[in-house]
């Protein structure tokens, strides 16, 4: 199938301009679009999501892989590009505006039904988004390796976590919320502003998306790699259970967090699940 690739921008209600790649099969028009959302400090062109999008577009699905404002660690932001954003600075609640902007852009192109397909932190964002907005035009959600990263889970898993969070809270209390803090995220060093660290991983546990999974109002597929930390497959199962009758999960044996070498298995799983929706 011949694909058309377009690099599009879209605006959020608070005037951020974000970008994404739309893959559309020329010979198959559709009112259904998949919206693919990256993980922490990733972006629209890094693996695994663009490979998934291209492969699914070959099967007839129109796919829009986007940047959220949390793309890369620190990017240029604001209308004049003089501000800073990226994963270091973004707040969870901002992501709703990013999704609204992307879906509005797709609507302006004639799409009327949407499926959210996300990876890693993008899954938390998608479940928060649809669990809150409950949009009737979002007809499905796919979570690829959703991390169990809320406070109580991380405090139990990572001995240094509570100490780093206390440090971040103290910095915020001293008015130093914009200062940098190095911490671990998904097993690797990461850079956050203190305010963002508290926002994303704080005691409020607002990023525990199990309650949101129960409010999606649409089918939900959760995927995890068999070679990831055990909490990923456990959480995939928990999220599928929380989603009720519309929930299901699949574990990809031997696969790591980025599905290196297992991309085709994941694409098969996605394509198989997507068959329930008319293209």
């Amino acid at each position: 199938m011949t694909l058309e690739t377009q690099l599009l921008d879209f605006a959020t209600s608070d005037k951020e301009t974000l970008h994404g790649l739309l893959f559309s099969p020329r010979e198959r028009k559709s009112d259904l679009a998949l919206l693919l959302v990256h993980g922490v400090a990733m972006n629209f062109y890094l693996p695994p999501l663009p490979s998934f999008a291209q492969a699914l577009a070959q099967q007839g699905y129109h796919c829009f892989v986007i940047n959220t404002r949390g793309h890369d660690w620190i990017n240029r932001a604001g209308g004049d590009l003089f501000d800073f954003c990226g994963a270091t600075y973004e707040k969870f609640e901002d992501s709703a505006k990013d999704y609204d902007g992307a879906l509005e852009r797709l609507s302006s192109l004639g799409y009327t039904r949407f499926i959210l397909v996300s990876h890693s932190l993008g899954c938390v964002k998608s479940l928060l988004y649809q669990g809150t907005r409950k949009r009737a035009d979002v007809i499905g959600v796919i979570s690829c390796s959703c991390p169990k990263q809320f406070y109580s889970a991380r405090a139990a898993e990572q001995p240094e976590f509570t100490q780093v969070l206390e440090q971040a809270e103290a910095m915020v209390a001293r008015g130093k919320g914009k200062e940098f803090l190095w911490a671990m995220a998904s097993g690797a060093p990461a850079l956050f502003s203190a305010a963002t660290y508290v926002n994303k991983y704080g005691k409020h546990e607002n990023n525990d998306v199990r309650p949101h999974a129960g409010r999606l109002g649409c089918p939900h597929l959760a995927i995890a790699g068999g070679a990831e930390h055990p909490f990923f497959p456990e959480y995939a199962k928990a999220l599928a259970q929380a989603s009720g009758a519309g929930g299901s999960y699949k574990i990809v044996p031997g696969s790591d967090h980025f599905y290196h070498g297992h991309e085709s298995e994941v694409i098969d799983i996605l394509a198989d699940w997507l068959k329930q929706f008319k293209i």
Partner: protein, 278 residues
């Protein structure tokens, strides 16, 4: 003219994986490709270069707008658990980055290349060709190359000397990888102490005037009249270094990012490119 968009990945000799958008007009095969190099902390999909690439592709030019490893302020690099971006890159990294991009284009059967750099990307383009002196690079377009080397900035910017001294002291103390918030002109920026000294330090190694003498190809310098005066002065000095093959154009009212003037600049570049038609 219609053109196709392809997101491409290329590798550098030191195994960085970089990306770019290749715009190809299918009705007009060519052996000439334009290679666009962004400025500090920018990337392949931001204006003005992305717009230039698309507009020139619609006029028949095959255009590859790339990321260098200095894309965004801080990005994922290496195996994606490392840190890269403008905050971490050294100026000399532009050599493997542009080598990688040109190797990729050669594999796609392009044989002649024109480098089009904006801001720091203009400096990189001139340093690259002044160093490599490639016969297959047939032209360079330098859009708003900044006069940002040490001796110039010390004279112009209050506090600049002290910032460099601080960064140097951090390197001496083994803290070269620590981050500093430092402005670049009017823009706030983030650099490791090491990258800041590398890019803006006392060695003046980002003064591209000496390299301009060794390009061996035509150069078009473009500057906006709404930019600080030193941009135009520097463009004229670069063009003087190039000699008879150098041309300088001042775009009335344009700022550093050419907001609302991109059409005018595309027109200037398009006219200049006529000399490379087969």
């Amino acid at each position: 003219m219609n053109f196709q968009t392809e997101i491409c990945t290329f590798k550098t000799a030191d195994n960085e994986r970089l990306h770019g958008a290749l715009f190809t007009p299918p009705e007009r095969p060519a052996d000439l490709a334009l290679l666009f190099v962004h400025g500090v902390a920018m990337n392949f999909y931001l204006a003005p270069l992305f717009t230039f690439g698309q507009d020139l592709a619609s006029r028949g030019f095959h255009s590859f707008v790339i990321n260098t490893r200095g894309h965004d302020w801080i990005s994922r690099a290496g195996n994606l658990t490392k840190f890269g971006g403008s905050a971490y890159e050294n100026l000399e990294d532009c050599l493997p980055d542009l080598d990688g991009a040109l190797d990729y284009l050669k594999k796609r059967d392009y044989r002649r290349f024109i480098l089009i750099g904006h801001s720091l990307g203009a400096i990189k383009s001139i340093i690259y060709q002044g160093t490599r002196r490639r016969a297959d690079i047939v032209g360079i377009v330098s859009c708003s190359a900044p006069r940002q080397f040490y001796s110039e900035r010390v004279a112009r910017q209050a506090g600049f000397r002290e910032v460099i001294e601080k960064a140097e002291a951090m390197i001496t103390e083994g803290k070269g990888e620590e981050l500093l918030s430092i402005s670049v002109g009017a823009t706030p920026g983030i650099f490791t102490a090491r990258a800041h000294v590398n890019k803006y330090g006392r060695d003046d190694n980002n003064d591209c005037r000496p390299y301009a003498k060794h390009l061996g190809c035509p150069l078009l310098a473009i500057v906006g009249s709404a930019e600080p005066k030193f941009f135009y002065e520097y463009a004229q000095e670069i063009v003087a270094g190039v000699g008879a093959k150098g041309v300088c154009k001042l775009v009335d009212g344009a700022n550093h990012f050419y907001n609302r003037h991109t059409g005018q600049i595309v027109e200037i570049i398009d006219e200049w490119l006529v000399q490379f038609n087969d």
